[in-house]
Amino acid sequence: MAHGGAAQGAADGQGIGAPMPRKEDDRYMRGRGQYVGDIKLPGMLEVAFLRSPLAHARIRSIRIPDAIRARVLVNADLEGVKPIRADTSLPGFKSSVQPALAVGKVRFVGELIALCAAPSRAEAEDMLSEIEIDFEPLPAVVDMLAARRPESPLVHEPWGDNLFLTTFVDADFEAAKAKAAYSVTKELVTSRQAMCPLEGRGVIAEWSSRKGQLVVTTSTQQPHIVRSGLAECLGLSEEQIRVISPDVGGGFGYKGILLPEEVALGFATRRLGRPLRWLEDRREGLTANANCREHHYLLTAYADADGRLLALDCEATVDSGAYSAYPFSACLEAGQIGSILPGLYDFPHYRCKVHSVATNKPPILPYRGVARTGVCFALEVTLDALARRIGIEPNELRFKSLVQPHQMPFDNIAKRHFDSGDYPKALRMAIEAVGHDAVRARQRRGEPDGRRIGIGYAMYAEQAGHGTSVYAAWGIPFVPGFEQAQARFTPDGGLELRIGAHSHGQGMETTLSQVAHEILGVPHDRIRLVHGDTGETPYSTGTWGSRSMIMSGGAVGAACDALAERVMSIGAALLQARRPDVRLEKGFVVGPSSRISVGDIARTWYRRPQDLPPDVDPGGLELTAGYKARRDTGTFSYAAHAAVVAVDPETGEVEILDYVVVEDGGVLVNPLIVDGQVYGGCAQGIGTALYEEMAFDANGQPQGSTLSDYMLPGPGEVPDVRILHLETPSPYTRWGQKGVGEGGAIAPPAAITNAVNDALKDLGAELAISPITPRRVVAALDQAGKGKAA
């Protein structure tokens, strides 16, 4: 495989494409990582937050006993602290103002009201019960469809309604109706979920009087964005703040948010004169913080007489919760639905309206896959229903409608620019791998235990690493530009790489080492990645949107290229050769008659400068370089997922018998890590499909508060996912790599639901909600039975 670039440092199978075990696994697997919960500072106090017990209420008064007053902060104590505002420049967007500690009103159960600090968390929790709050309860806005009606109570009174934003796109939709031979309309729902990274959030704040700096150690994916947000809220300049993210036990989007807890601790540590730590417990995460995924769709799909997709007409609603979360805003999901919904298909007519609704629930946050999981579910489940209506195999409809490889690159009806790929091939491979015909034969035979077998497919594209042009149009608090990386040789020939993004499971300590090794040939054990500290790394918008291998990988590549150039210049001089006559190979600058290692060149730069040529680049062996993809509309990895399930019609239980993923992530920098990403994502997608649901009652009270009532799939529920790869290079990225971090979590709800509906089709039952619980299966069968009886 040819890679563009100035140097070919490695030809030893340890560079780009090597399935190397992760460097970081040694400390992770031995329990030697260091998370916020492992860090203790001298004199540190532990924080517990008093959170709202009500979904919607006015705060009439707060009474704090004198004995604890000095260790309690409420909103009135937060002098000079500004609320969190995450606006967008999209026309019509209504702004929410989220104070770090509630003032006037509470808008969801779990909203922060008071900060209590004590030597131990248990003692801090004791303080919570001593604070008395007089609430005036207000009717809660819980159902997003009811919230859109004019008579609904208001979450934010000044708005006049409960809509953050409504977006609308129409691509010649009306013309479709005359041409349509078939249509099907579905109402589809993805339930609200709670993300469950192994490690919850955690924050330590301390004021360093030596540095004149607020040092915030927090479990975040994007330390630089947290720094900007903290500066805005606390009225500090950015150089007065240092944000460190140590080891982070899973992000998934949940750690890509500026937290009111961070703002509150950032202020309180100076006020109380003590380092403060808050560790989120699972109850806080589930009930108050980690909400995501809640979508509703009314979707009509039209096909022409040949069974080809003709048009989509959609009205979607996203329950965005009470506040717009910083930095991605309340429109992250709703703003993308219209552009993602067309999927991988080429069709001529389209209309989509999307409402982003405020309710008295926790803010909806990005979760691996972001809007795509719900959109893929809505589209692919509806396509299967349309195929059943036409009377053809769902994949026949797909094959006729998919964008074809000869059309690449392809601008779709929603103006998304697909960079490369062979979508029909991925589907063919999935059909082959899952043994489609054998499953159909087994289906016809029937099961001895009375269960019903079904097979289902789903496809998606995952836009990743999209940059300036996309985000500038959206106008959220940050716009990603050039990604930067620093590379520097140490005096003894080691290599340090510094990136502003953060690795927390992505394996970037390994993959970026592979990038550097590919170019410079430095052995892996002499390459170290520094990340997760605004004091030590270049600015970055962080790790999100499956961007890091494209952006940080590109930036490390650019820095290593430039470093290679300097190394070769010095090396040529030391070898008394002309620059054009030397090359960099396996960690050596090789001249016509001799060679010198990059380590010796580094030693010369730092320790024996008297040997350097007079025209040496004074920048030396340390530099920062920037990178942007040749086109910044993103890479589009894609996949076909196939699921085989058995459904027990008596109990409603669904078992996954087989699961196949055919994924094209472009050139894979480390196939082993990509498989891990796909596998982990699938586990989360299976959670969405079958298990996870954060329900709220009519008063807005969350119905799950522990992992015994919020159900996650475990090892017994996640099958041995079989993963196959295509590797179609992206034409726009450094090595042809594409972002693949989220894909696994996108398609499982759609593929599994299609499989369940395939299993139940002879009984007339069809499900269009995630998760598919046993109770919902039985209810659908009952409903179908009633329909037949009538």
């Binding site: 248990a122 417990d281 008596e650 475990g714 017994g716």
Partner: protein, 266 residues
Amino acid sequence: MKAAAFAYRRAESLGEAVSLLARNPDAKVMAGGQTLGPMLNLRLAQPAEIVDITRIPELGATSEAADGVTLGALVTHAAIEDGLAPDPTRGFLARVARGIAYRAVRTRGTVGGSLAHADPAADWLSCLTALGAEVSIVGPGGRRRVPLQGFVRGPLDTDLAAGEILCAVHLPAFSAAASFGYVKFCRKDGEFADAIGAALADPSRGIFRLAASTTAGAPIVIEAHQPFALEAIPALLDEAGSPGDGYERRLRATILKRATTEAMGS
């Protein structure tokens, strides 16, 4: 969350445990702590004092006699799973134990603690009720022995009076022809069950007994002197007041039928 402050006492003997409990009406017994621990941390339980009974030797003892087996209250699920306790069911108890929660829970969780806590979704409650087990209880008034059937009054509510400790479980001897069935319906391995069905068929003794878990408290017990007809089970459950909505009642019947099939053949 972290537990509210409490005093901790470790009893060295059953007598000491009983007197500690008598001294403080707000004291709570802790054995394996697999339920009480989380309840303390969630502050759902805030006892003034914890009486730790795990070092009382006789509570960990087991014995085997002609008329059955006695398991001390502290026998863990893992000990039963691993065959380290006498098992009159020839492996059935080990199979049930293996399905309780997760190995880490089984390693510390105890059979006595599970029954005393009386979570309606717990495995031992339905299983041991179907087997006709009895429990021994020690308290200020002395020792008494009662059938497990009838011991549970409601969710997390038992016949245990203030200051009493459940100290042992007694299992009858089964005939060589006895067979057993146990089916539980969980959405996820190791989680609390949505439905449990347990069945005993001991034709030589003329005992046929079914137990089905409910969320209302004690399992529903159906007994007969001859094998059950599978199709009769839903009606028998309804006659016994099978609670819940249509789905719950149907699921209970389905699972109990499957357990019955396991024990008695279809």
